[in-house]
Symmetry: C2
Subunit: 407 residues, 2 copies
């Protein structure tokens, strides 16, 4: 599998410029095009390649890294402009792109290889680009009607950038990212939005939990509007499922606040409908459904409000448990060592040195800290066999280190 | 402010045992009580103190660390059993506890100091306890009708455990944690729950985003059922606000999937109601509201579906921006240095050593990695002035290190 020698990057934002930087660094001849001449020049100044000109040699590969809402137009234009080139894209949604290109380009689509390097960040633009953006990331390729040789070109580019190539159908890709990326984005944004009206002393109580839940809420509205709109068909049913479960929780809480009347008056039918959205079986009534029957049916079919809350949290546990740990290993595969980090200059640097000297391989880490105070807590994940050794070594060096036993 | 000499801990779970470990380590005479003799014995074996006996001396302070649904009963019993002792609790909700104790104990409530050390984890039980659990955490105290001397006792205990004491009213506390803790928990659980039915190859695309959003979804259903039920009055209106915004997103996506018909048939009224929940002004119609009028009104008052999506993400950005960074500093106060970490034994250890040798103070860090592949990306936050120095030093030592410019 050989790397294309001449690559044309159309769209010098975060992904386009990062890819150009990576290819340029590996000796590929990269040309840069952007609707904004300034953006292309900036990317070129950063060392991402030459600004494209009319007299450029025909590229072997064109990478379209334009905003989602113009990708189909740009891909079609590039397929026409370069009749021998392979064309790929980096859009986070694939069905709309694949269908659009098929509709616009007919047989030429065999030169188009839809792709999605899963390497975003909260920051955007060429200034946030870096040549190692794709190192260790997954790069999805949807070889939908593309020639094998064209797929090989794009695969070579992804791999030389250090990415792990996964092949999926456009539909499977869109359903997957709807669940693991787009729904989490909407949830993070909605949770963060309700912090807007909060008093300062309330926001000051924010801990690592809300910090983690809302981290991706810092993402770009324009880009995400296009992503969500572009994947509306896959995101919609998932969000409707989330809303149904949210309604269960809201109903359970309203029952609790109202003192436990589960089937009161006009809410009767709604209750049954809402509860129906949980995994609780609703026994059909033997009698025609009157308000009374609904009351009875409700009493039979409705789990207590606290049961609904418990089911909600337990359901989240099950889903969370499905997310594999590093290298697909179960998240529980490592033991956790907690180290208290005083807020002194170089404290983390010193613990870095001490951990390094133990020669123990740290698999993962998390630094938790409280806004209001100094000390932080560093959690280091290591293989269970070495955990106690690490604790002893750090304690001997004066650190408050503890083996965190898993319940 | 003097530390109580004899402390009785009732409930030897994660918080009770951790507090007992911290106090015992500081020379306090700690006795341990739990409805489960095994749990109390386990905590004692862990070095948290003596198992309580009938002939124990009267404690100066009783810490009730029982499950939320029995806290009021236990606090009332302890106030009666120890007529001179200060009694405090560690429950995540405060209104229900304060009102319950006031109702049950009348004047004796002056000896009760409601508290909430904000130091939870996804793991529970004495086995997960550690003496430094409260280091650097916020400990909320609600001195609701309690004597100043009693408040001083609890404050001393919180501070000796390394916690930062914040004083709030029970109502302000409950509204704050509803927004920064309880709503995020529900959202994380709902997002994680929708991963349950996902194909394995789809779950395998999970990146750092969904990992962060769902981390706290691993929490204990029984505990959270009690927390949510105990704070239902504060959580309910916030979740209803989230649902209204979620409805806006769902409606916008359904308009997009249905080809842009914003005011079709029976959805007319619902549309106006839904859109009314955004910050978009709804112009009252000059004519009586008929379905036609609704259609027109809809067309006037409804922002385009993409505008709703953009508003949703932008609203999240605003809310996220309110969460202060470390020590209350804005999150943008530090420069970020990215280092590629190959998956080799001791790789993180080596980078720890090299960073340590630079003597540069690392303020925060994040390790991102992909399940499917080897390399990870370590992001180090340092003061901007030192960032380039760190990059150069690490590069000189053979690391792929990059200064991450903020857009």
């Amino acid at each position: 599998m050989t790397l294309p020698q001449r690559v044309r990057v159309v769209g010098t934002g975060l992904l386009g410029t990062s890819l150009a930087l990576a290819l340029q660094a590996r000796g590929v001849d990269v040309t840069l095009a952007d609707t904004s001449p300034t953006a292309a020049a900036l990317a070129s100044d950063m060392g991402a390649g030459r600004v494209a000109h009319a007299q450029d040699e025909a590229p072997d590969l064109v990478v379209v890294a334009a905003p989602p809402d113009v990708v189909v137009d740009v891909v079609a234009a590039e397929l026409t402009a370069w009749p021998d080139a392979t064309v790929t894209d980096v859009t986070s949604v694939k069905n709309v792109v694949v269908e659009g290109v098929a509709r616009r380009c007919g047989a030429e689509r065999c030169r188009f290889v839809p792709g999605h390097p899963m390497a975003g960040r909260e920051r955007s633009g060429a200034v946030a680009a870096r040549s190692d953006l794709f190192e260790g990331r997954t790069w999805v390729i949807c070889p939908d009607g593309a020639d094998d040789a064209r797929v090989a070109d794009v695969t070579a580019v992804a791999q030389v950038c250090g990415a792990h190539v996964v092949t999926m159908s456009p539909a499977a890709h869109d359903e997957a990212v709807a669940a693991v990326s787009h729904v989490p984005q909407v949830a993070a944004s909605l949770v963060a939005a309700q912090l807007r009206e909060l008093p300062d002393d309330a926001v000051a109580l924010s801990g690592q939990g809300v910090r983690d839940v809302t981290r991706i809420a810092a993402s770009d509205p324009m880009l995400w509007t296009q992503i969500l709109a572009g994947n509306a068909a896959a995101v919609l049913p998932l969000l409707e499922g989330v809303r149904a479960s949210l309604d269960d929780v809201i109903h359970a809480l309203s029952v609790i606040t109202s003192g436990g009347d589960a089937s009161g008056g006009t809410r009767g039918l709604a209750d049954v409908a809402v509860v129906g959205s949980t995994s609780v079986a609703v026994t059909p009534p033997a009698t025609p459904v009157t308000q009374d029957a609904v009351g009875i049916r409700d009493a039979i079919a409705t789990p207590g409000p606290r049961a609904v809350l418990a089911q909600t949290i337990a359901g989240g546990q099950e889903g969370r448990a499905r997310i594999p740990g590093k290298h697909g290993a179960p998240a529980q595969a490592y033991a956790s060592v907690a180290v208290v980090i005083p807020d002194e200059p170089g404290a983390l640097g010193r613990v870095f040195t001490d951990v390094g000297e133990t020669g123990i391989s740290v698999e993962d880490m998390r630094l938790e800290h409280d806004d209001a105070v100094a000390a932080g807590l560093l959690e280091l994940s290591v293989v269970p066999l070495r955990a106690q050794t690490l604790v002893s070594a750090l304690s001997a060096r004066g650190w408050a280190a503890h083996l965190v036993e898993t319940a």
